[in-house]
């Protein structure tokens, strides 16, 4: 009887257990989805609807938030608006209904572009450097390897913002303030320690025999690394890249401190969208909604890599 009980603990859970577990997962997912749903709904509300209390669940959706996000507008007299030719599009029409005319595009897309360049650039650099460093620590006898690894880890032991002032002063000195290069270097420096540690774990798992086999098959160590180690480290590289990208994409404090103009990223820009008579919440929500898309896409693309796993089957342990 005893043996049946012990076997029971490792077999398929009962349908009831499965149903309860499923319900908990769905409930948790719903709770975490509420802020996202809230942001998306706000982005398609009109400004008065967005601040009404109690919050409106049923409302007439409008593109006003997105229009306000992408444009700057000026107030004009009704007479002047009457004298203009017919509106050129939906946004034009919405603006005129509020006695405004579109003056030009807003800074949202340039800021969004800065975010893309800085986040992907720093992720690429951090993962590249991290992979090479992790390979070195994993395969060669590096003098003081343990101390070096601890030093690399120790850069993450205090919140990065603790060194904000020295970095601000250094950046001003070196002319890196408000430059994309400066932000890429900063985010790379923060992410590379994480990348080294994560990737070292993944590369340690890849048996050395593969490289040795490749070297005997006539390849140099660098070629063996490129043709044999890297393809097997893709899972680890994908996971590390997602972590690095999420940090660089979301980073706010340094972006506020070190960028203000041409290199400003989207996070410090979005809250500064001011409408008439205060914060333009639908526009802010619209900016946030679009801002979520790249991370979503990147994660979905790499999800396959993450789930596929490495076919270690060819080496038996």
């Amino acid at each position: 009887m005893n043996s049946v009980n012990t076997a029971h603990s490792v077999v398929e859970p009962t349908p009831t257990v499965k149903r309860i577990a499923g319900a908990i997962v769905i409930l948790y997912a719903l709770v975490t989805m509420i802020p996202l749903a809230w942001i998306f709904l706000t982005s398609i509300k009109s400004p008065p609807d967005s601040i009404s209390y109690p919050p409106k669940i049923v409302f007439t959706p409008t593109l006003e938030g997105f229009c306000n996000l992408f444009t700057t507008r000026t107030r004009q007299t009704p007479d002047y608006i009457q004298s203009l030719p017919a509106p050129a599009g939906a946004c034009d029409e919405i603006a005129r209904s509020r006695n405004m005319v579109i003056a030009g595009p807003s800074n949202y897309w340039p800021r969004f572009g800065n975010s893309l360049v800085i986040a992907f650039g720093s992720t690429f650099l951090a993962v590249s450097l991290g992979t090479l460093a992790a390979y070195g620590f994993s395969r060669f006898r590096v003098p003081l390897a343990d101390d070096l690894l601890f030093f690399i880890l120790s850069t993450r032991m205090m919140p990065p913002i603790a060194v904000a002032i020295p970095i601000y002063l250094m950046y001003r000195q070196f002319g890196l303030s408000d430059t994309a290069l400066g932000m890429i270097l900063l985010y790379t420096a923060v992410n590379v320690s994480l990348a080294v540690w994560l990737l070292k774990g993944f590369i340690d798992e890849i048996p050395r025999e593969y490289e040795e086999a490749a070297m005997i098959d006539g390849y140099t160590r660098l070629q063996a690394f490129w043709k044999v180690v890297l393809p097997q480290a893709t899972t680890g590289i994908a996971a590390t890249a997602i972590f690095c990208l999420i940090f660089a994409w979301n980073e706010y404090a340094f972006a506020v401190l070190l960028t203000s103009g041409s290199a400003q990223t989207a996070p410090p820009f979005i809250p500064t969208i001011i409408g008439e008579g205060g914060q333009d919440w639908p526009a802010v929500a619209a900016g946030t909604t679009i801002f979520l898309v790249p991370i979503l896409v990147f994660t979905i693309i790499l999800r396959k890599q993450l789930l596929r796993g490495i076919t270690f089957g060819a080496v038996r342990k």
């Binding site: 086999a213 070297m215 005997i216 006539g218 390849y219 490495i310 089957g313 060819a314 038996r316």
Partner: protein, 365 residues
């Protein structure tokens, strides 16, 4: 194809000496087995020949060329790993063709040679399969295919059958030897399994604690072991040792074992008095009621064609391989008779075999 010559090769890891002053030559087309227990330095020796490990001192010559410090990729050798190390992100065809790719061989030629190699190994039907789904034997063949496709100067194999189950291992032993007979590549094969070494190798190097105890043909190693270690490691059950205290004179033809005179091959050297051991293989023992070496049956092990009978004597337990026809009672009194031409005498302190006419034969023949 070529000759591998190892001269005074030595490897030290920190304070640990993995390989101590080894020298041997593997002739062109010869199959050498490096045999020994784990940790004896056989794999380290193989890795030094491959260039995966650099020796502390000594020389390695490949085909007359000093390759001691050449990169592995520059040595033109093939290595079959214990765990095969098939590249998991490539299919069978790409795994086998990978060594040719590094040499810049044309695509069409790689294709042709992969197919030719696969036919030789009878794996042409699985060329487009992923290596992760293959059975142990097929993985083994793919690993061999990757080794032979390049027609390297020599093959190095590190216990390639170690992970296969016993039944299949015998099939592969046969296949490997057959493959060797067909391609005649100089081969160094590392194993801890004496049966594999005996069945496949032209020469065997028995290693222990980083030292090569004996280098010779399977027959030499079995019939004329150079040391007690070799005599004990090879053969199952191993050689029996019967201890006695004595000195020996050159030309002596008998020794005294527990008061009984035993005829031995003519001793070829003078030995100062000390602990000695008479070594006799189980198959060189007969039961004879006339013999003065007496004992009582202690146990027996039935093997089908014959049986191993353990006999408790005044000089310890002696195992004899005798016909399976006769059955023995436990405690039954028996007399033991040895085949005098096949006996070896060892110095127990150094473990060294004492020169005798048994060993002189080896030198002449």
């Amino acid at each position: 194809m070529s000759e591998i010559k190892i001269v005074n090769l030595r490897k030290q890891f920190g304070d640990f000496v993995a390989v101590e002053d080894s020298s041997f030559t593997v002739e062109d087309g010869e199959f050498l087995a490096l045999l020994g227990p784990s940790g004896c330095g056989k794999t380290t020796t193989l890795r030094m020949i491959a260039g995966l490990e650099l020796p502390t001192s000594g020389k390695i010559h490949l085909d007359g060329e000093d390759v001691t410090f050449n990169r592995a990729s520059a040595r033109d050798i093939a290595f079959v790993f214990q765990l095969f190390a098939l590249y998991p992100h490539m299919n069978v065809r790409r795994n086998i063709g990978f060594p040719l790719l590094s040499q810049g061989v044309a695509k069409a030629e790689i294709r042709a040679r992969v197919e030719e190699t696969a036919k030789l190994l009878r794996i042409d039907h699985i060329l487009d399969r992923s290596v992760s789904g293959l059975a142990g034997g097929d993985r083994q063949r793919v690993a061999l295919g990757r080794a032979i496709i390049r027609r390297p100067k020599c093959f190095l194999m590190d216990e390639p059958l170690g992970t296969l189950d016993a039944e299949f291992r015998e099939v592969m032993v046969h296949e490997l030897r057959e493959l060797h007979n067909r391609v005649h590549a100089t081969t160094v094969y590392v194993t801890h399994d004496q049966h594999e070494a005996m069945a496949m190798a032209d020469k065997i190097a028995v290693m222990n604690h980083g030292v090569i105890e004996q280098f010779g043909t399977p027959q030499e190693v079995y019939n004329r072991p150079a040391s007690m270690y070799v005599a004990d490691f090879i053969g199952s059950p191993p050689m029996n040792f019967m201890r006695f205290h004595s000195g020996l004179k050159r030309g002596t033809r008998t020794i005294v074992l527990d008061g009984v005179e035993v005829a031995v091959p003519e001793v070829g050297e003078d030995v100062a008095p000390g602990e000695m051991a008479l070594g006799v293989r189980p198959e060189h023992i007969r039961f004879s009621d006339r013999s003065s070496i007496r004992g009582a049956v202690y146990g027996s092990e039935y093997l089908g064609t014959n049986q191993i009978v353990a006999v408790e004597t005044a000089v310890g337990i002696v195992k004899a391989r005798v016909s399976a026809d006769r059955s023995f009672r436990l405690g039954e009194a028996v007399g033991l008779e040895f085949n005098p031409a096949k006996l070896a005498v060892f110095d127990c302190v150094s473990g060294r075999a004492i020169a005798s006419s048994l060993y002189a034969e080896a030198r002449h023949g």
